[in-house]
């Protein structure tokens, strides 16, 4: 039951982000850490 609630809330959050036009994160979420070599 708690899991289903969690999934529904997550879906609602995604819908809300889309409705507000906050979509820039879709690109930024795919960025990975660029290793600089420092400390290696």
């Amino acid at each position: 039951m708690c899991f289903i609630v969690l999934v529904v809330v997550t879906l609602l959050a995604l819908v809300l982000l889309r409705a507000r036009g906050r979509e820039d994160w879709l690109r930024r979420a795919q960025l990975v850490f660029e290793e600089t070599g420092g400390g290696h």
């Binding site: 997550t10 982000l17 979420a29 990975v32």
Partner: protein, 433 residues
């Protein structure tokens, strides 16, 4: 935060966390401590023995082998995409950002409240009654929660170097004590004497249901996933994080096989059928018999375990939120780092708040109900996350990274791992066994 996404093909971000601060031992201990070697025995041993009986070590061996395949699958993403976002970033990058968001949410519900929930369960069900029985002194359970969390929070703000060093110390102490107990138990066996019967596959027929023992042993291994978010603070993350993911499962597999063999022999191989929830925790019984008054070292190991898992979950949870805040899907304040200590303090503040909420829930609903309701929920969340990652591995290596495609690693392993995950869900929630 500097980005250079305008350069084709690089898609990189520089980190503000303390880059290169954690070596391979720290990365491995992040996974091992989150599995919680002694706490996992406390939570799973009696349950698994109920199904697997004398061949309980085999249940852990097979369960670990299946999880090792899942870890190997996840490692295929970890070696390509080092990021504090961990699973969130891996799945967002290779499957879809919205699928990654689900993984980020599951991580956000899983790791952050571990400290309050674990310390509450340990304090309420083990420490308070055991210390009262042994010394006649009542130390209220909530004192362990408040004191333990205070230390963990302090170390978390102190920075990754301090917290990983303490993680290695506390994690090592618990493993040494638990292994020492198993060795002593083998040297001083219970009824039935020293025996290799728990390791003999010829005894599989003596288990009431070895398959279910394997299914439920998989729960004992949860925690290895938390290695991912340390990528930006670990040395050579493309090498060390994958090793941490797979290595923590393999090390714990060997640990579980050895210590459960020792505890069964110490309890008495003739008495294995008597192990159930109606008797005191059998590992405590073994410790009291072979160590006398020094059995309280077992309590110390469990307390260390709870502290270690709390440290590891503070690190894993806050770094995932840092990654999500940096990408803008959570408030950008979570992606801020304090320059002096290079810690994501806003994410740590939030994690402290989550632990306060978890503690309030424990006070309202009780430690056991709150812990097991949460554990039930995150088990489904983690398996969903595994499935998403497995699909992502196959998709990524069949398309973008086609030149590196290996059918065994990128199709067969994820498929077997996914099938194992689905069987666990079926047997745990739907099958009327």
């Amino acid at each position: 935060m500097a980005t250079n996404t305008d350069q084709p093909g690089t898609a990189g971000i520089r980190t503000e966390l303390r880059e290169g601060a954690v070596g391979l031992p720290g990365v491995l201990m992040q996974g091992i401590a989150t599995i919680a070697p002694s706490f996992a025995i406390l939570a799973s041993f009696v349950f698994i023995v109920g199904f697997a009986g004398i061949v309980t070590p085999w249940a852990y061996l097979f369960g670990g082998a299946l999880l090792a395949l899942q870890a190997l699958s996840a490692a295929q993403l970890a070696k390509q995409f080092p990021s504090a976002g961990g699973w969130y970033t891996w799945i967002a990058r290779t499957l879809h950002p919205r699928a990654g968001f689900f993984a980020g949410v599951f991580f956000s519900v899983w790791l952050p409240p571990v400290g309050a929930l674990t310390l509450s369960l340990l304090g309420k069900t083990v420490l308070e009654p055991a210390i009262k029985d042994e010394y006649g002194v009542t130390i209220p359970w909530w004192i362990w929660v408040v004191a333990g969390l205070a230390l963990v929070i302090w170390w978390s703000y102190a920075g990754i170097v301090v917290s990983e060093r303490l993680l290695i110390i506390t994690g090592t102490i618990e493993i040494v004590i638990m292994v020492a107990l198993a060795i002593t138990a083998l040297a001083s066996p219970g009824p039935g004497g020293f025996s290799l019967a728990p390791l003999n596959p010829g005894n599989f027929h003596l288990a009431s249901n070895l398959f279910l023992g394997i299914v439920f042993s998989i729960f004992a291994f949860s925690g290895w996933e938390s290695t991912g978010p340390l990528a930006e603070e670990s040395r050579n993350p493309r090498r060390n994080v994958p090793i941490g993911l797979v290595g923590s499962v393999l090390i714990l597999m060997a640990y579980f096989v050895f210590v459960t063999w020792g505890y069964l022999v110490g309890f008495g191989t003739d008495n294995v059928g008597k192990i159930n929830f109606d008797i005191p925790f059998p590992v405590t019984t073994v410790a009291q018999r072979v160590w006398g008054g020094a059995w309280v070292l077992l309590l110390f190991a469990l307390l260390n375990s709870a502290i270690a898992v709390s440290i590891a979950c503070f690190n894993g949870g806050t770094r995932t939120w840092y990654g999500m805040g940096r990408s803008g899907v959570l408030p950008s304040a979570l992606g801020k780092v304090v320059p002096s200590r290079r810690t994501p303090d806003n994410a740590i503040h939030l994690q402290v708040a989550v632990n306060v909420v978890a503690f309030v829930l424990v006070l309202i609903f009780g430690a056991e109900d709150t812990f097991f309701t949460w554990a039930n929920m995150i088990t489904l969340g983690l398996i969903t996350m595994y499935l998403l990652a497995n699909v992502a591995v196959a998709r990524y290596y069949l398309t973008e990274a086609r030149s590196q495609f290996n059918p065994l690693l990128h199709v067969v392993v994820p498929a077997i791992a996914s099938a194992a995950g689905l069987v666990v869900v079926w047997q745990s929630y739907f099958s009327p066994f």
